[in-house]
């Protein structure tokens, strides 16, 4: 991750506006030789890759998309700091040819700071198709930099661009002697100070600087664009938006897309996940047989099979939905629909203090909170991302459904649907309330403003989407996998220690923990060690609650219903369901929270606040119910 610090290789940074085809260009340059990580200390994706050309190699770093170097938005601060502190040997400035004027604003800022740049005039084909003709030579002359027309999604112009970039690297290291750059205070620092200044007298200067840059950008754009279409004519994207954002059609289309995404992520992944599950099961059985035949001690066999291999299985079953989710998100982002979805959901998400983009993560949470939390990456504001991540576990995921179905079936056979629905509704209400509360306490940052570009609709390049999906999915499984595996092993150990106990019995560690917790749960009406132990197992994966109760009551199938009927009342059962809904994120979700917040404190908060909330709610349900004579 610290490759950039060591500076053994020249650095080529890629900077440009969001939606300028920056990532496509990065993919075209590095191909599969790229690495997706994080910028140190933050959860913004960092992509880098090594390239070689004509016997020379360089490190290519894809900076977050940025409109301006003076912005205080996290993503954009990262881009600015990298350019100012790491001083890349050359910056490839990716410019959207269909939107030259706005894109030139960043170019002019880069030039003001004295950064060596090579310009990639990207999406050149689309500009031509729209009737925008740009005089490349004139642009190059006006700016004093090399300008290369490119079509990144079709890898056109990449060779010329890299030649220009490497030439700039050579020229750059040549002029400073041994590749060492002068460290004196460059005029760029002053420009930066001006760009970020907030003091009132400086604001005027900053405004003037922005106005001046845009004036210059407009002048340059006007002089180099030889022909342009009638500005009053409707662009293809505007025509699509007449339908996609239509007063009557917008929401049916929106919910159709969300439904399709949900189906794609969860329905399509189910057979795959099941297949992986049974494959791991078969592997476990084979391993058990082989190890037993080889004379391994029972304890070791059980540990490897029920602990390690089962944990691996739990992890692998997450892989299909996660890869499909990342695919769906990358696709919707690249095609340009994500911005429309945000626009359409902003009215109701805004009411709970969040950006419109926070809607998709919430919806995906109904399938699996892990996917919901990962989907929050598409939010630009770190604050909104954090809040979305923290409240997502309150959305009732599909793993909780078996618990509801079991208890509702036993105690409320006639109102089963209503009981299950009430729990889903409670989850949504809680998520909205907690989000609203957090949005009051966590101060909005600059990117919490809605101001958002509606990018043109563009057909994404499939290989780019797949590459993105693969890199993101692999990285998540790698990071979260360790936590999930470890948790499964720990729970296995708890239910099988001390040696010799019947797994999960009241003498095992889990039984003792259950007995210790049970008194705390008494006010909620289900103070038995079995209920407590089931909740502990449920912390690994919510669907384990049902299975654990089955094991603990020593029954299966219909017998479990009888045991539950004997140990619960309808009221305490409902309190238990409320507890199961809210009480804490499962291990995989916790791992995802840790991964996405990069903060132990927030992860701890995300585990503790639902525990307290769940207990309070379950107690309220039981105590009020008892007062009303429902017990």
């Amino acid at each position: 991750m610290n490759e950039i610090v060591s500076r053994s290789l020249p650095i080529i940074a890629i900077a440009g506006n969001p939606n300028s085809g920056k990532t496509a260009l990065f993919n075209a340059i590095t191909g599969a030789r790229q690495h997706v990580g994080n910028w140190p200390g933050v959860t913004v994706e960092k992509k880098e890759g090594r390239i070689a050309r004509g016997g020379k190699s360089a490190l290519v770093v894809d900076l977050p998309g940025t409109y301006s170097l003076g912005s205080q938005a996290l993503d954009e601060t990262i881009a600015r700091d990298f350019i100012m502190r790491e001083r890349p040997d050359v910056v490839i400035n990716v410019v959207d040819s269909t939107n030259l004027e706005r894109n030139l604003y960043l170019t002019i800022q880069l030039l003001d700071m004295g950064v060596p740049i090579v310009m990639a005039l990207n999406i050149f084909d689309e500009a031509e198709a729209l009737g925008i003709h740009i005089d490349v030579e004139a642009l190059s002359k006006d700016l004093g930099v090399t300008v290369v027309p490119t079509v990144a999604v079709r890898s056109q112009g990449i060779d010329e661009l890299l030649d220009a970039a490497f030439a700039a690297v050579s020229a750059h290291s040549g002029e400073d002697g041994s590749g060492q750059r002068a460290e004196q205070d460059s005029p760029g620092e002053l420009a930066l100070a001006l760009a970020t200044a907030q003091a009132t007298p400086v604001i005027e200067q900053r405004d003037q600087a922005a106005e001046r840059r845009y004036q210059l950008a407009a002048e340059i754009a006007q002089s180099v664009i030889t022909t342009s279409p009638d500005s009053a004519a409707e662009s293809p994207s505007q025509r699509i938006d007449r339908v996609a954002l239509n007063r009557w059609l917008a929401y049916p289309i929106f919910f159709g897309v969300v439904w399709a995404m949900f189906q794609f992520t969860f329905t399509l992944s189910e057979p795959l996940a099941n297949w992986l599950g049974s494959a791991i099961g078969a592997f476990g059985a084979w391993a058990e047989h082989t190890l037993a035949a080889a004379g391994a001690p029972d304890m070791v066999v059980a540990f490897l099979v029920d602990g390690v291999i089962a944990g691996l299985g739990a992890l692998l079953e997450f892989a299909p939905p996660i890869f499909l989710l990342f695919f769906a998100i990358s696709f919707l982002e690249d095609i340009g629909y994500m911005a429309r979805a945000a626009l359409l959901s902003d009215r109701f998400m805004g009411a709970i203090g969040l950006h419109g983009k926070a809607f998709i993560p919430m919806i995906l949470g109904f399938g699996c909170n892990v996917t919901g939390i990962l989907a929050a990456r598409s939010l630009d504001s770190p604050r909104d991302r954090l809040i979305s991540v923290l409240v997502n576990p309150l959305i009732s995921c599909s793993a909780r459904l078996p618990v509801y179905v079991l208890f509702a079936g036993v105690f409320f056979p006639k109102q089963r649907g209503l009981v299950v629905f009430s729990l889903y509704a409670l989850g949504v209400v809680l998520a909205a309330s907690v989000a609203k509360a957090l949005s009051i306490f966590i101060k909005p940052d600059v990117s919490s403003t809605f101001v958002m570009e509606l990018p043109p609709y563009r057909m994404p390049k499939m290989s780019g989407v797949l590459l993105q999906t693969w890199e993101r999915g692999k990285e998540f499984l790698h990071k979260a996998g360790t936590v999930i595996l470890l948790a499964v092993v720990v729970v296995w150990a708890l239910s099988n220690l001390p040696p010799g106990v019947a797994p999960g019995s009241s003498d095992s560690l889990i039984g003792r923990i259950g007995s210790a917790i049970a008194p705390i749960l008494k006010p909620a009406g289900f103070g038995t060690w079995q209920a407590a132990a089931a909740l502990v197992f449920g912390a690994v994966a919510k669907e384990l609650i049902v299975g654990t109760l089955g094991v603990l009551y020593g029954t299966g199938g219909m017998g479990l219903a009888g045991a539950i009927q004997a140990n619960w009342t309808p009221l305490s059962a409902y309190a238990f369901l409320v507890m199961s809904l809210v009480y804490m994120p499962c291990v995989a979700t916790t791992a995802a929270i840790r991964r996405e917040t990069s903060s132990r404190a927030w992860t701890a908060f995300a585990v503790v606040y639902p525990l307290v909330l769940a207990w309070v709610l379950a107690v309220i349900v039981y105590q009020f119910g008892s007062l009303l004579g429902l017990a």
């Binding site: 706005r102 845009y214 500005s231 954002l245 626009l343 902003d346």
Partner: protein, 113 residues
Amino acid sequence: MSIEKATSLDELDAGASGKIVGIGCPGPLRCRLMDMGLTPGTEVRLESIAPLGDPIIVCARGCRLGLRRAEAAGITVSPCPALVCARPGPGRHRYGRQPRKGARCWRGARNDT
């Protein structure tokens, strides 16, 4: 049509255009709007309004932006129907929420422009 008096961006009709006179929002929102090209003197067209009446979609410098009404309320424009809007809007009048009187922009207004 004669030049009307200055109004805020969110009070334009769908399809109407104006020239930005000033940005009254403080702090980060001000920078953001400027960085996105909404500088004084820029021609801007209110392209359409989201189905629920908020946010609005505006067109400036050849690019389209979604803005909340509360954010657009801080942008003062002088309406100029003849400038950009050669093609009239869909002929539909503004619908949805009526703009509040003295609508404030994000985190308090400051009308120093």
